[in-house]
């Protein structure tokens, strides 16, 4: 018989307000095996933990039940506590009376009743607990960063700096991400390329960093410390080891009408291209959708002009497999498509553009060489209207419910830079709220209003009507003076909401990492573990976790790197001992468990058994590799004969809990 101690936590008023903690500890006192029961304001505090340790010694406890918050919060804490008092850490059970009880009930009586039942279930389980010992698994000292924007670049540089190998997988032909398309950066207005491209070069030159550009992750197997990742290197029809990036092919290619994605389709590139002059790696890529040679075998100009002999029309996609100890998701964002916002006439007028297109129009390396010219007629616009929150903070269902966070600042930047360079231009900004919480951010916005005379108007634009004379009639409301406005504009710039890149969801599935309803990766804890995914060994960097500006992205990228370094520094990881094991006498060799195991932890072998009549028989039975098993329990459910069981969560333990609840 176990000697069980019960410890009921108030969690300040979190539990005590809706659960009568005194009644719970009193009721559980009379459960079989319980020799001690008490309650305390903060069981996780030092005083609370000492109370547990003292009780273990004083009452010779063999098992402990803690009625408190979710085991995800403090199970590890209390396991350490009891270990300190000499009990096996797996002799602790947590009854979750906070998330699953006090927080969701209003009535104290029902809350108390439920808390007692949950406590009884945990006591029933702990009776059947057995001491478990954790094994160890090795750590592959190499990290994978998925996404080569500023987030991925910073994470990779920091990991490499600590002396670990790190690979970057980037789907585009070059690393650099969205920041390469931006002209200047708020609030200091330094040029994005000038601060980003040296970092890109650092990545390329760092011998610890390997860049897989124009590549995608196609499969992820394994677990923390020991992931096996398949990476597809898409055929770029150019041998990257030979290409010198001279660019002659991109000048001679006869296919000139390919929309240039780097300039958001505002000008054209060739079928063989280098995205921009500072691309890393600086090698050409052939766009198979447009290349005449690849489409119908007629052309071959690039091959003829290439003195390095780098063109290879026969190149195929190649899949490689690599092992990693840690994976960082840094898949970034995209502006939303504006199909649901036709009132702004984006699809009807060339002179209605997005903010990212505006960046390209003002960038010296952009389609107009930095001259702010209207896309329709190439003339200088004299009245510009900026519309904020296009699809952000939208509860109608057309856009996104969240604030995209960066738009207020970049719009202030656009407005200010326009007034600076073209003082004869009238600039209007329509906003719902101006949100500038960041170091030197509000000062920046006020400069736009006070020093640069940008007309900030609180209110939304209702309609942008393209007129036959080429102007845009902007209908809007001014909420402060309560009047309808009609502004005849030459250019309208829409601050489109940002959303996670489309590759994030399939990646999350591969990583078994969780996402929120907006497809942003979920962090392990919103406040205390903001750069880790709940899936061990998976870390989050940049806007794949939520909207962020560059300073915040870089901070998070370095934080994720620190977490990765902490993991890679270890030679071995303590395994979870709550793994599956098979009872050979019950196993009938059906392979059901092997089929459902997501980790490939189950193998079969033929074994000799002595039969009751003293003969021997060869039977096929399952065996679990405990170093690979993650304790998900899928096999225990699939096993038809009941041979498969999970340590720490055995069928008997779970049935005992159910019985205790139903009693």
């Amino acid at each position: 018989m176990q000697r069980i101690g019960v410890f009921v936590c108030w969690c300040g008023s979190n539990i005590a307000a809706t659960v009568d903690v005194e009644a719970v500890s009193e009721a559980l006192k009379s459960e079989p095996g319980v020799v001690f029961s008490t309650n305390y304001q903060y069981m996780c505090s030092e005083a609370g933990q000492n109370m547990i340790k003292d009780a273990i010694k004083e009452h010779n406890l063999t098992g402990v039940v803690i009625c408190s918050c979710s085991p995800r919060m403090h199970e590890a804490t209390f396991r350490k506590t009891v270990q300190g008092a000499g009990i096996n850490p797996y002799m602790v059970e947590i009854a979750n009376i906070r998330e699953q009880c006090s927080w969701i009930h209003k009535d104290k009586q029902t809350g108390t009743e439920k808390a007692i039942i949950l406590g009884k279930a945990a006591i029933a389980k702990v009776h059947l607990n057995a001491p478990l010992t954790a094994g160890e698994s090795p750590v592959v000292k190499r990290a994978l960063v998925i996404g080569g924007g500023i987030a991925g670049i910073q994470t990779a540089l920091d990991i490499a700096e600590a002396g670990f190998d790190v690979d970057i997988v980037e789907t585009k032909p070059t690393i650099g991400g969205k920041m390469t398309q931006i002209d200047k950066t708020f609030p200091t207005l330094d040029c994005a390329a000038c601060i980003l491209t040296p970092k890109m070069v650092d990545c390329a030159q760092n011998e610890k960093i390997h860049i897989y550009s124009y590549s995608e992750v196609t499969a992820v197997k394994g677990f923390v410390g020991n992931f096996t990742v398949s990476i597809k290197k898409k055929a770029r029809y150019v041998d990257t080891t030979k290409c010198t990036g001279c660019g002659v092919c991109t000048e001679k290619c006869p296919v000139k009408n390919v929309p240039n994605e780097f300039n958001l389709g505002m000008n054209n590139r060739r079928a063989i291209y280098i995205p921009f002059a500072q691309a890393v790696p600086k090698v050409a890529t052939i766009d198979a959708d447009y290349c005449n040679m690849l489409k119908n075998g007629k052309c071959g100009v690039c091959s003829k002009v290439c003195t390095a002999g780098a063109i290879d029309y026969k190149q195929q996609d190649e899949i490689i497999e690599e092992k990693y100890g840690a994976i960082v998701a840094a898949t970034g964002f995209n502006p939303i498509k504006l199909d649901n916002f036709d009132e702004f006439a984006y699809s009807q007028s060339k002179d209605v553009i997005t903010s990212l297109e505006f960046e390209r129009l003002t960038n010296a390396a952009g389609p107009t060489s930095g001259q702010l010219l209207r896309p329709s007629d190439g003339k200088h616009p004299h009245t510009i209207v900026f519309v904020q929150c296009v699809g952000s903070r939208d509860t109608s269902g057309c856009g996104k419910p969240y604030c995209s966070k960066i738009c207020c600042m970049y719009t202030a930047k656009h407005a200010m830079l326009t007034r600076e360079k073209y003082p004869d231009t009238d600039v209007y900004v329509f906003y719902i709220d101006v949100r500038t919480p960041g170091k030197n951010f509000d000062e920046f916005y006020r400069r736009a209003v006070e020093d640069y005379n940008v007309h900030y108007i609180k209110g939304m634009v209702g309609k942008v009507a393209p007129r036959a004379d080429g102007t845009l009639d902007v209908q809007a409301s001014d909420l402060i003076s309560n009047e309808q406005l009609h502004i005849s504009a030459d250019l309208v710039v829409l601050a489109a909401a940002i959303e996670p890149d489309k590759s994030a969801r399939p990646l999350a599935t591969m990583l078994t990492a969780s996402m929120d309803t907006n497809d942003f990766f979920t962090e392990a804890h919103a406040k205390l573990r903001p750069v880790e995914s709940p899936t061990a060994g998976v870390f989050l960097s940049g806007t794949c976790q939520g909207p962020k500006d560059i300073p915040e992205t870089v901070s998070q990228a370095s934080a994720a790197a620190a977490k990765v370094i902490g993991l890679l520094c270890k030679d071995k990881l303590t395994c979870n001992p709550c793994v599956a094991h098979s009872d050979e006498m019950l196993c009938n060799g059906c392979s059901s468990c092997e089929k459902v195991c997501p980790y490939g932890a189950i193998t079969y072998s033929d074994k000799e058994f002595r039969m009751p009549d003293r003969t021997t028989a060869i039977r096929r039975v399952a065996a679990v590799n405990e170093a690979v098993c993650q304790g998900c329990g899928a096999c225990t459910v699939a096993c038809p004969s009941g041979a498969m069981d999970l340590k720490g969560f055995s069928n008997k333990q779970i049935m005992a809990e159910v019985d205790a609840i139903c009693k």
């Binding site: 699809s347 009807q348 269902g397 009507a465 007129r467």
Partner: protein
Amino acid sequence: MTFSYYPGCTLKTKAKDLDRYGRKAAEALGVTLEELPDWQCCGGTFSMSKDEIASKLSAVRSLASAKDKGNDLVTLCSACHNVLKQTNDAMKNDPDFSAKANNYMKLDVPYNGETNVIHYLEMLRDRVGFDKIAEKVTNPLTGKKIAAYYGCLLLRPGKVMQMDNPENPTIIEDFIRAIGAEPVVYPYRNECCGGYVTMEDKALAKKKSNKVASSAAENGADMIITACPLCLYNLNKNADESDIPVYYFTELLAEALGVKD
């Protein structure tokens, strides 16, 4: 192809052409429109007050009557369509409203939004098909530049009406192509004409109507077509800055099909 048909009060008085040509064109297209024998006024406007029941009951009666007939209910007037469609949606999806309406009406079988309400234009697009209409056109309106005027009621609220994208619709433009003419797309085709405000603020109604008519004219339209009697009235009487003519779309359909007398 047989549908129940809800004409509405205005189509029996001020907007007889909308009704008359609509019926003739339907006949020419092989569509039978059976007028609901006991229809009542739709209520005119769909009250935005959630607890307003009384003004919506006559719409519920017509909808319940159409359910008994068993066919989809076709409407023609934009305002009637808007009221019937929104009331039907409330009967289907607002349990509080439908319970109150049913309690009041004491029907033999409670009505819960079973009738499918479609606009005449949707019937043309989704049931007959614009391509089939184009085949039956005997008198194509070739060379005519026509501006579609949607107004505000036909497409909004978009989630309930579910006819077309309210901010960038195409259904009437596609209709114009089907009868052989050329659609003129102009930005104010889905803006308000002024509506009932003409009763108390003529200046405002004139401003709104002129904006629409002038925008159509500025973009080179010969005429405007609409499905709404009130829009037609406003554009004819209040848009005094241009003399662009305004017709019901059914009149042009009848003309193209060669059944306009």
